[in-house]
């Protein structure tokens, strides 16, 4: 197992290095997330609806859209110059390959989320201080689940026509349970509710992560191997 993990980390490292050298995708995704937040601010009538009532849904819709943009990029870079064929020729178990891609995507989506969160506080004037550890925790829990499904779908989507359209159509239904859970937990955290009221949702998010990370790791070979 440590060998499989080492290989996964090597693949994730390669992706993160490639991303840090160009930075274009990361920057565009961050700018995209900021723009979504700005648009949301104009879509709301501040005299009718308090920012805190809308805040959890705004935050999570922004995260979901930004993740979609980020995931579209994951295998597009592998398609250019036949990079994926090179990667598949390497003596790496498919499970490790998937985990490596998943880790890189998580780092990428996590970075976008880390920039979006302060912008969200700034634009929507929400006091996060007390709830911050909880929000980081639930963000991690929800993100792992949908990024893992998104990673396997983006590997498929790049092989299709209309790749940029195919990923959201396939992935959005799979984002529903993590997003509902995350919005529910976030609004309870912002309202300062006790942990017992969120436990059911947190359990759902954790089970979702376990089921889909395991399943996607197993199914990845069927996607990339001819």
């Amino acid at each position: 197992m440590p060998e499989a993990l080492r290989l996964a980390l090597a693949i994730a490292g390669k992706d993160i290095r490639a991303e840090l050298r160009s930075r274009t995708a990361l920057l565009s995704a961050v700018v995209f997330a900021a723009l979504v937040l700005v648009v949301f601010n104009f879509a709301r009538d501040p005299t009718v609806l308090a920012a805190t009532d809308l805040a959890p849904s705004v935050l999570w819709v922004t995260f979901a859209l930004a993740a979609m943009v980020a995931l579209n990029r994951a295998f597009t870079i592998e398609r250019e110059h036949g990079a994926l064929d090179g990667l598949l020729l390497a003596p790496v178990p498919r499970g490790s390959l998937f985990l490596g891609k998943l880790l890189a995507n998580l780092a990428f989506v996590g970075a976008v989320e880390a920039v979006t969160l302060p912008l969200f506080v700034l634009f929507f004037n929400v006091d996060l201080a007390a709830a911050l550890p909880g929000i980081i925790g639930v963000t991690a829990l929800a993100t792992i689940g949908f990024v893992s499904v998104g990673t396997i779908f983006s590997a498929m989507a790049v092989r299709t026509r209309f790749a940029e359209l195919m990923l959201p159509v396939l992935l959005l239904p799979f984002m529903v349970p993590p997003l509902i859970g995350a919005v529910q937990v976030t609004s309870r955290l912002l309202a300062g509710r006790p942990l017992s009221e969120m436990l059911g949702w947190l359990r759902l998010l954790a089970v979702y992560d376990v089921v889909f990370v395991t399943l996607c790791t197993m199914a990845f070979a069927a996607v990339v191997d001819e």
């Binding site: 779908f153 498929m156 092989r159 299709t160 396939l170 959005l172 239904p173 799979f174 529903v176 996607v223």
Partner: protein, 233 residues
């Protein structure tokens, strides 16, 4: 017998079964309008039950079979399983459309609203979207073996998604009528209504079998055509 002959024979058999089912459907309309009593509180609006419930049953049957055959495909790699999953998904989407249109028509006079974000409605709506995505994916992959593998993966993941969507929307109090037939105690329906529902469910299932058989035959014919085109050019 060539592949084209087999395809043609299957499509013809499917057509015969579907035609029989459509005649049966006319019979269901007669039964629903003449034989069954008018429900005391809902009036004539309740009659849609005899179409809505069997359509929902067929849609869910179709989607479950896509999930099962997808899992079997990745294990056995038998192209027949893939062809069946494709046919079942297409027919399932058609039945899903019937379910999702008859539902609101009934809900407007009875609930006073076309749509509500109730657990069961939300689940079936997302299943419907999921299978439209499944068909869109199939349509956009050219290589047959790649298409089969990709759609099998989506089919399996979709099957596992169902309990999660159900759990996550269940917390909103459900408005949907509770089951009246498939429940632990005896069905709480007058015998005429129950008989009509059973007949209708049989007719719809027959229609499902007919349409899937036709679609399967069509897939075979398409494959034979593509092979012939490859051989020629």
């Amino acid at each position: 017998m060539t592949a084209t002959d087999t395809a043609r024979a299957l499509a013809r058999r499917g057509l015969r079964i579907s035609a029989t089912a459509l005649v049966g459907l006319a019979g269901v309309y007669v039964l629903a309008l003449v034989y069954t009593p008018i429900e005391a509180r809902q009036g004539m609006a309740q009659k849609i039950f005899y179409l809505h419930v069997p359509a929902a049953w067929c849609a869910l049957l179709a989607f479950s079979l896509v999930g099962i055959t997808s899992a079997l495909y990745l294990w056995l790699m038998d192209p027949r399983l893939d062809r069946f999953a494709a046919a079942s998904a297409e027919v399932g989407v058609a039945f899903g459309a019937v379910m999702l249109t008859t539902g609101p028509i009934w809900a407007k006079p009875i609930w006073g609203t076309w749509w509500t974000w109730d657990a069961r409605l939300t689940l079936t709506l997302f299943l419907f979207f999921l299978f439209i995505g499944y068909l869109a994916l199939r349509a956009s992959v050219h290589d047959p073996s790649e298409r089969a593998r990709f759609s099998a993966v989506v089919g399996i993941l979709g099957m596992l998604l169902v309990p999660f969507i159900h759990l996550s929307v269940y917390l909103f109090r459900t408005l949907h009528p509770q089951p009246v037939v498939l429940k632990p105690s005896a069905p709480s329906l007058p015998p005429e209504m129950l008989r009509t529902l059973l007949v209708s469910t049989l007719v719809f299932t027959l229609l499902y079998v007919g349409l899937v058989t036709m679609r399967y035959g069509l897939s075979l014919a398409e494959e034979a055509r593509d092979e012939a085109a490859d051989a020629a050019g």
